[in-house]
């Protein structure tokens, strides 16, 4: 294992600890998201580390700076959110206001997703369930954006066919 990789792996638990201490209301996923953000940040500015200086103050400054940034993003996002009990209708016509769930049986849909070939299932999970962007999903799965588009198109077609048949 490379020294840099070892260093990043060693500091990751420490970063999780710092983030959990400051963001106790964060879910595990949000903590991990911020840990990755700090890792990317320190990678981006690794040239600013001077060999003779202490490592922990350097790391801690970056971590706290990214924490403060995430708080700013959070409150900015909150300020732009509008809480409504029920979304207003968009058009008066009946077809635009069908008040039924998209899928009447979520269990049936979950089964149909499980039955998909692996590539298509991964595409559905990343792009539809975890709402990742095409670029993020491509990096995570190691495939191209084009291949993902094909997979998701095929997956939706297969699901539609399976659900209508059932």
């Amino acid at each position: 294992m490379r020294a840099y990789e070892r260093l990043l792996k060693e500091i990751t638990p420490k970063l999780r600890q710092i983030i959990r201490r400051h963001r106790q209301f964060f879910t595990a996923e949000e903590v991990e998201d911020l840990v990755q953000d700090v890792l990317l940040s320190l990678h981006a500015v690794r040239a600013t580390f001077a060999a003779g200086r202490s490592f922990m103050p350097w790391l801690s400054t970056i971590a706290h700076n990214r924490l403060a940034d995430s708080a700013r993003r959070y409150y900015r996002g909150k300020a732009n959110e509008v809480q409504v009990d029920e979304l207003p209708v968009t058009f008066a016509e009946d077809p635009a206001n069908v008040e039924v769930e998209s899928y009447r049986d979520p269990g049936e849909l979950a089964n149909a997703i499980r039955g998909l070939p692996e590539g298509q299932r991964n595409a559905i999970e990343m792009l539809k369930l975890r709402e990742m962007s095409l670029k993020e999903a491509a990096i995570a799965s190691g495939t191209s954006v084009g291949a993902l588009k094909v997979s998701i198109h095929r997956a939706v077609a297969t699901l539609r066919k399976a659900l209508i048949k059932e």
């Binding site: 840099y4 990789e5 990043l8 996923e29 990317l40 981006a44 202490s54 999903a137 990096i139």
Partner: protein, 228 residues
């Protein structure tokens, strides 16, 4: 939303950790910035024609004190700006240019008080808008060099870093300007020259996030991550 597993991200980062040139110490970078800026300031002063009474002014204590204070403010602000983009330093370092700035202001304030004591003749305030473009022109290349040099660091406090950088460039610009602009009444220097320095510092602070931001840095890292 998590793009990938953290361990996988670390592996990718390690794969993409090409050697980087370490940032020199802040005071070394200040010296580099002066080495880039000084010839330009000298050239602009020479092109704008030095003031006719320069020889006489060089033996005037107040003029020398104000020039040393302006230059020191510029150098201290540049050092503080370069320190502010290195994680791990004490953030109080941003106060570094305050001491020479206070000397500069005190000297000008004392000049105003003396003019007041002497009957207020030296307190006439005329418009001298030329100070704004002149200081901006003398400080233009130092400001550009400063912005480029700051972008190599961490955007920890963008507005403070660019304000310090702007103060450094404007301080140097004012230092150069006084060699060619025959304006010595303290109140005029205080309002027009010092006013311009503050205006440019405020503008630089406003541009903080345009010059220094994490987002493009992180986007660049993400773009360069080779798929594993």
């Amino acid at each position: 939303m998590i793009a990938m597993d953290t361990d996988k991200l670390i592996e990718r980062l390690a794969e993409n950790a090409d050697p980087v040139r370490r940032l020199a110490a802040p005071w070394v970078r200040t010296a580099m910035w002066i080495a880039i800026s000084a010839p330009y300031v000298a050239l602009v002063v020479a092109m704008m024609a030095p003031r006719s009474d320069l020889q006489e002014k060089l033996s005037d204590f107040r003029f020398l004190l104000e020039q040393v204070a302006a230059l020191s403010t510029g150098i201290a602000a540049a050092t503080a700006a370069f320190i502010s983009i290195v994680p791990g330093y004490d953030r109080r370092v941003a106060l570094l240019p305050l001491a020479p700035l206070c000397v500069w202001l005190a000297s000008l304030a004392e000049g105003c008080i003396q003019a007041l004591v002497q009957g207020g003749a030296g307190l006439d305030l005329a418009s001298d808008f030329v100070c704004i473009p002149a200081i901006a022109l003398v400080g233009a290349l130092p400001a550009l060099a400063m912005a480029l040099m700051l972008r190599r660091g961490a955007p920890l406090r963008p507005h403070i870093s660019t304000a310090l950088g702007g103060l450094a460039a404007a301080g140097l610009g004012n230092f150069g300007l006084r060699f060619c602009h025959p304006q010595d009444a303290s109140v005029m220097v205080l309002v027009w020259q010092m006013g311009t320095v503050f205006l440019l510092t405020m503008l630089s602070a406003w541009a903080g996030r345009l010059i220094l931001d994490w987002r493009p840095l992180l986007m660049n890292v993400r773009r360069n991550l080779r798929p594993g």
